[in-house]
Amino acid sequence: MTQATASTATAPAIQGNAFTQTVRLTGWVLFSARRRIMSKVLGGVLLGLFVVIVALVVVAYAVTANSPVNEQNCTSAPVTATESSGGGTTVNGPPPEQCQPLTPAEQQQVRQQRLESVREPVTFPNSLALAGGYTTFIGLILLTILAGAVVGGEYGTGTIRLWFSRGVGRGQLVAAQVIALVLLALLISAVMLALGALVGVTIGPLLGGTLAALPAGSIGEILLYWLAIALTLFAYAVIAFFMATLGRSTAAGIAVPLGFFLFEVIVGPILVAIGMLFQGTTGEIVRHIPDWFLSPNTSYLVSRASESPIALNSVEGNTLGLPHALFVVALYCVALIVLGLVLTQRRDVTD
């Protein structure tokens, strides 16, 4: 080791207020998230799976385009009555169908209908719905894993000590982590929607799709759709943040939110079915328990945000309502962030 005095003499002054430090800390959280091997793997999985899905659509298109249309044009024959031995008349079973092979023009029409239905998801703007739906499932899982690793990793590696013993405010670290999760959710959903749009304007036309002019107000709808998807991702990332903080581990930050996600998917319909078995208030209460789960409300917001004018999704038949959905999602996010903050503020750091 060399002389200590030399370096201490040239040391720079320490600068920055709490706000700029929080911004820097957010940048650091994002940098450390990006540099994890896990991030690269998860990013690869996210993009790779999407490419596989698009490739499957292309293959399905090629198979459909090259398959003969074997359907026949069938019409029912007129009902004929026969005399029975008893002198009455009976109808002998269902009327027989009379099938004719399709004419070449009809075959072409059927094939075109099938090709249209295959290429529609990869043609803009419907490709946005494909990318959005993919992101709210696969993207959600992957961001949750990343969030659990980033927050829980601070405890696992002991780097939480590094920050707090250097005067980083505990609230500052929580703020930086939450802001980083917001930015990651926005980034992931933006990248996936951009990829969806790219697929839509390249692969769709290649498969014979036509790009229609967007109706007025479409940009606003796409932006809302993006925000709704990002909010969905963020809400589950917040669960990962809270559980990683509570359990002071990466494992808790990953396992619990994913388990909750599966729980919602499995238990929600079961509760609705059970509720149907009961009459009156009890049945109503049981049926509406899933209304307070996170997933139905984020799904509602995503569908509602993309309902018009492009009509990527629809909330028809969904009784939740916008205020309820916004309230439940906000409740989850705010409550878990506040609880995470209180835990971080009050607990001893002994990891």
Binding site: M1, R24, F31
Partner: protein
């Protein structure tokens, strides 16, 4: 700096430095459940001190350091660091900006390189720009001898290299005070010497150093003041020289093993009769390479070396003649063991009865 270079002497009062108190704790208490980790601790560290925190495992050293660094909240008591009351969030953060610390093992992001880890800390520490940060990071890496390994991720570092990076991180913000928990842990002997030299240099340049260590000889070498903890309680605190003065003594060897318990009995009797300068009498084993008397044990009298003549006369008056009688300067290990009631297997209580059997592995 070479490993064999002498550690510079650390002045107990650094020249030109005001000796104001930089750290003061009062009534500092921490409990984990029913276990009291730290009890009513009052410490005082002055600018330029190299302050050693000593104690056996579980004595509360690390908990104390954690409370000083704002990692663990005290149950009671107060901490004043650089005059800032650590109970206030703003004051605590301001004070901690002036500290460089390693608590337990260094903690860094394993997937980042050493420079990247330091860059992160420096960025947060509020260095004005990237160029300054890079220069500072390079300087501290050079200082701890890690400049050549700047491409390796932290997970590839050896234990000693991790410790060096921890020291580099602690130096990064040019702290006014360094808090080091077992700073030589994992280092090879040359690394230990280097760290001790670094501590000496820091102290000479006016940086206050507080370190917790199990290595008593290390603490004795580098520290100017120490506090000794046991089970969360402060047993002693003061200048090393003062504490060592109280643990100096006289070592006596006999050519006839039967004279050993007789001498012990005579000295204990004298103590009980009012010889207040005679603090304690114990059997001790000779140091490696020293003369070993018949029976293996020597007699150690805890008293100032100035009383050698009185001891000799007292024994001679009883017809007991020593084959060897020499002054023994105190060391921190003896003081520590005597204070904490622990034993290193090298001592035994003296009595007028027969000397104890030699411990297993002891010298014959």
């Amino acid at each position: 700096m070479s490993a064999t270079e002498e550690t510079p002497p650390i002045p107990e009062t650094p020249p030109g430095a005001a000796r104001e108190v930089v750290l003061r704790t009062e009534g500092l208490t921490k409990r984990y459940g029913v276990r009291t980790a730290v009890n009513n601790l009052a410490l005082e560290v002055r600018r330029g001190d190299v302050f050693g925190l000593l104690g056996p495992n579980g004595s509360g050293k690390t908990t104390t350091l954690r409370m000083l660094l704002g990692l663990v909240w005290p149950l009671a008591g107060s901490i004043s660091l650089f005059g800032e009351n650590m109970a206030s969030t703003a004051s605590r953060r301001a004070a901690l900006k002036r500290i460089g610390a390693i608590v337990e093992q260094p903690s860094f992001y394993p997937f980042l390189t050493g420079p990247e880890n330091l860059h992160g800390i420096a960025t947060f520490a509020g260095m004005p720009d990237n160029a300054t940060t890079r220069a500072r990071v390079s300087a501290v890496l050079e200082q701890v001898g890690l400049a050549e390994r700047d491409k390796d991720s932290y997970r590839k570092y050896s234990l000693g290299m991790k410790q060096r990076l921890g020291i580099a991180a602690a130096l990064l913000n040019s702290p006014d005070m360094m808090i080091l928990d077992e700073p030589t842990n994992g280092l090879d002997p040359a690394g230990m010497v280097e760290v001790r030299a670094l501590i000496g240099q820091l102290a000479t340049s006016g940086v206050t150093v507080m370190l917790a260590s199990h290595l008593l000889h290390e603490v004795q070498q580098v520290c100017t003041r120490v506090a000794i903890l046991k089970e969360g309680n402060l047993l002693a605190q003061g200048a090393v020289s003062d504490l060592l003065a109280t643990s100096s003594g006289v070592v006596i060897g006999f050519a006839d093993a039967e004279q050993l318990p007789r001498a012990a009995g005579a000295l204990l009797q004298a103590r009980d009769a009012g010889a207040v300068w005679l603090r304690d009498v114990r059997y001790v084993l000779p140091e490696p390479g020293a003369w070993t008397p018949p029976g293996g044990w020597l007699l150690r009298v805890d008293a100032s070396g100035d009383h050698s003549g009185e001891i000799n006369a007292l024994l001679a008056g009883q017809g007991i003649y020593a084959a060897e009688l020499r002054r023994s300067e105190g060391n921190l290990e003896q003081y520590f063991l005597a204070l904490t009631g622990a034993t290193n297997g090298m001592t035994a209580p003296a009595s007028a009865a027969a000397a104890p059997a030699m411990p297993q592995g002891g010298q014959a």
